[in-house]
């Protein structure tokens, strides 16, 4: 998929499995995508679709065992991250690639001050004095819109509100001006008003530092607003990958259509009922035969249950895994 040298990250056929007593959990099963410089890429899917595990695999934060990366490569700046040892990966983590986690309540260490944790992130990768790191930390807190920064440096996480903690997390993540910022559902645990502020902040910092962002969310509204390209995941597999307009206006996968149909729209004249996707996601241990979405798909044919559909490029830069996508494309099958 990497078609030019503007590509920063290129992931091919990534498979991360977990070997548990109950069986093999195929958390990420054949994910491929690329990330361009300065781009915001959205990864969307339900809980358990493998979004977070994909992100953690990029950073090498999967516990092995029980986890295992079965196949694939993660090409970052010409280096396959999967081939690196933990010691070498440390130099990338928090430095070239950093991550903001879902729950700021639990993601900060309760027994160290914000200043301590922030300076630690700086000193882990920059050879500067403590005093310089302190000044840099103040600068970062100011950048993420923290009020009263000198006092805040000495505060502990429990003295912060959720939004403030997430700002502190972001300050930590951008401490070393990373090329890629992975935001794993950064606003799920926050109030709606704070959500917008945090996302605006991420967007603003992205533009300021010229980095790329991987935005993981299950909120299509967030995707529509911030992402340029979107990867839709279902049960560990990438089902559709395209630019944001195509995903919303010309989806070729019934799952994507279902996601869009299950969101309320303000501009609709008729008060239509929302159309939820029937059923629940399958267990990752016991996946159905054939297309994993077939049991919930209103377009599914008998042949869909025999084998998994190949990932095809149906239009330029628009990838989809569905046997009936060609019928949607030709118009012989209506999306409605």
């Amino acid at each position: 998929m990497a078609d030019n040298n503007n590509t920063l990250l290129d992931i091919k056929d990534l498979r991360t499995y977990f070997y548990t007593d109950a069986g093999v959990v195929k958390a990420v099963d054949g994910v491929s995508f690329d990330l361009k410089k300065g781009e915001t890429l959205g990864i969307v899917g339900e809980t358990g679709s493998g979004k977070s595990i994909t992100a953690l695999t990029i950073l090498g934060l999967i516990a092995i065992p029980p986890g295992k990366i079965v196949s694939g490569y993660i090409d970052f700046d010409g280096q396959d991250l999967l081939k690196l040892k933990q010691k070498q990966l440390q130099k990338y983590r928090g430095n070239r690639i950093s991550m903001i986690f879902q729950d700021p309540m639990t993601s900060l260490n309760p027994v160290f001050t914000i200043g301590n944790q922030l300076m630690e992130a700086i000193l882990a990768h920059q050879k500067i004095t403590k005093k310089q790191a302190y000044d840099k930390a103040l600068e970062l807190l100011d950048m993420v819109g923290m009020p009263d920064i000198r006092k805040r440096m000495k505060s502990y996480p429990h003295e912060f509100s959720g939004g403030m903690r997430q700002r502190a997390m972001i300050a930590m993540a951008i401490a070393n001006s990373p090329s890629i910022l992975i935001a794993d559902e950064p606003t799920t645990a926050l109030d709606v008003t704070i959500q917008a502020q945090i996302l605006e902040l991420v967007e603003e910092l992205k533009n300021k530092t010229d980095s790329s962002v991987i935005l993981i969310t299950h909120d299509l509204g967030v995707i529509a607003k911030y992402a340029e390209r979107v990867l839709v995941m279902y049960a560990g597999k990438p089902v559709e990958f395209a630019n944001v307009n195509d995903i919303f206006y010309k989806p070729y996968h019934p799952y994507t259509m279902g996601l869009i149909g299950s969101v309320s729209k303000l501009n609709e004249e008729k008060k239509e009922r929302l159309k939820p996707i029937k059923g629940t996601p399958p267990s990752l241990i016991d996946l159905p035969e054939g297309c994993t979405f077939a049991p919930r798909c209103r377009f599914a044919l008998d042949s869909c249950r025999l084998s998994y559909p190949p990932n095809i490029e149906i239009e330029h830069g628009h990838f989809v895994s569905c046997f009936r996508s060609k019928e949607f494309y030709s118009g012989s099958l209506s999306r409605l």
Binding site: Q90, G94, S98
Partner: protein, 314 residues
């Protein structure tokens, strides 16, 4: 903080009143006449009556109790029936020995216990982890007096490496066997607690954050995990220190250690009420004070704990 400490110290007063009351009644109920105990057989009734009056034990119990409490307030623990010496003196003589032994045991349990626990947690399911698990299980199961005797026979009698009993000149070799014996069960507990606490902490989100920052494994374990993991372990060690300082009756008896546990034990056998009550009061005091110190230490380890209704918000 200061307010909290003062409050905690004032709380000791009702505890002391309760303890003296219970012990006083218990010792009073025992049908043993201290005067007869002192003068022994063959004393004339007149001599016994005289002594009773002199000691004040002919008075009703509430009068005796009031007298005891008022002199206690002045720091006087009374006179031993058996030795005719001040209880303060007797305890002052024996307490330092118990405290020294307690510290020796605490040092052993802290160092060995925590190190074993960390290794066990970090190298989960490895040979070392299994070794620690098995040896701690065995240690917890072995009765203290039996372990003490085995050590005496093995290292003391058969090999002759270490003295078997007593304090001798107080040099370090006299401490080794009793301290190991005293620390055995607690060392196993500390190791197991450190292991489970550490494993618990390592599964936290903030540990993942620490790794995501690009910190080294050692830094994540020794900085981010250990401080969190040690909070419950410190509490246990603190309470254990309080317990050990009260003297270890079994260990002190086996090793003929001239400590306070043995003194109180002998005093109970001899119905020597002032020594029993006085010794227990000091024991309680030390226990309460150490608990207070542990709680303060706790707050420095865990900033979320605020004293006296602070600004903590969750």
């Amino acid at each position: 903080m200061l307010y909290y400490i003062i409050k905690r110290i004032l709380q000791i007063i009702p505890v002391i009143i309760g303890i003296t009351l219970i012990l006083f009644i218990l010792m009073y109920v025992i049908p043993e006449d201290p005067a007869r105990l002192i003068l022994q057989k063959g004393a004339t009734p007149q001599a016994l009556a005289n002594l009773r009056e002199k000691m004040g034990i002919d008075k009703p119990i509430y009068v005796q109790y009031w007298r005891y409490v008022t002199s206690l307030a002045k720091g006087d623990l009374g006179i031993s029936y058996r030795y005719r010496r001040s209880v303060n003196e007797i305890l002052a003589e024996h307490y330092p020995n118990s405290i020294k032994l307690a510290f020796a045991a605490i040092i052993i349990e802290t160092i060995i216990g925590i190190i074993a626990g960390i290794i066990s947690a970090v190298k989960k399911y490895s040979f070392l982890d299994i070794l620690v698990t098995i040896s701690t299980t065995i240690l917890v199961c072995i009765p203290v007096y039996w372990l003490g005797m085995l050590l005496q026979i093995g290292l003391g009698l058969k090999l002759g490496w270490l003295p078997m009993s007593g304090m001798g000149d107080g040099s370090i070799k006299y401490y080794i066997l009793p301290a190991i014996t005293l620390a055995s069960v607690s060392t196993a507990f500390v190791a197991r607690m450190t292991r489970s606490s550490m494993l618990d902490v390592l599964s936290n989100d903030y540990i993942r954050t620490a790794y995501a920052k690009g910190l080294s494994n050692n830094r994540v374990i020794f900085k981010h995990s250990l401080k969190n993991a040690l909070i419950p372990v410190i509490t246990y060690i603190g309470i254990d220190l309080g317990t050990l300082m009260g003297g270890a009756i079994l260990t002190e008896t086996i090793f003929a250690w001239p400590g306070v546990g043995r003194t109180i034990y002998l005093a109970i056998l001899q119905r020597d009420a002032p020594v029993v009550i006085g010794g227990t009061i000091i024991l309680v005091l030390i226990f309460v004070v150490i608990n207070l110190i542990v709680d303060i230490l706790y707050a420095t380890l865990d900033p979320r704990i605020r004293f006296g209704g602070g600004e903590a918000n969750y």
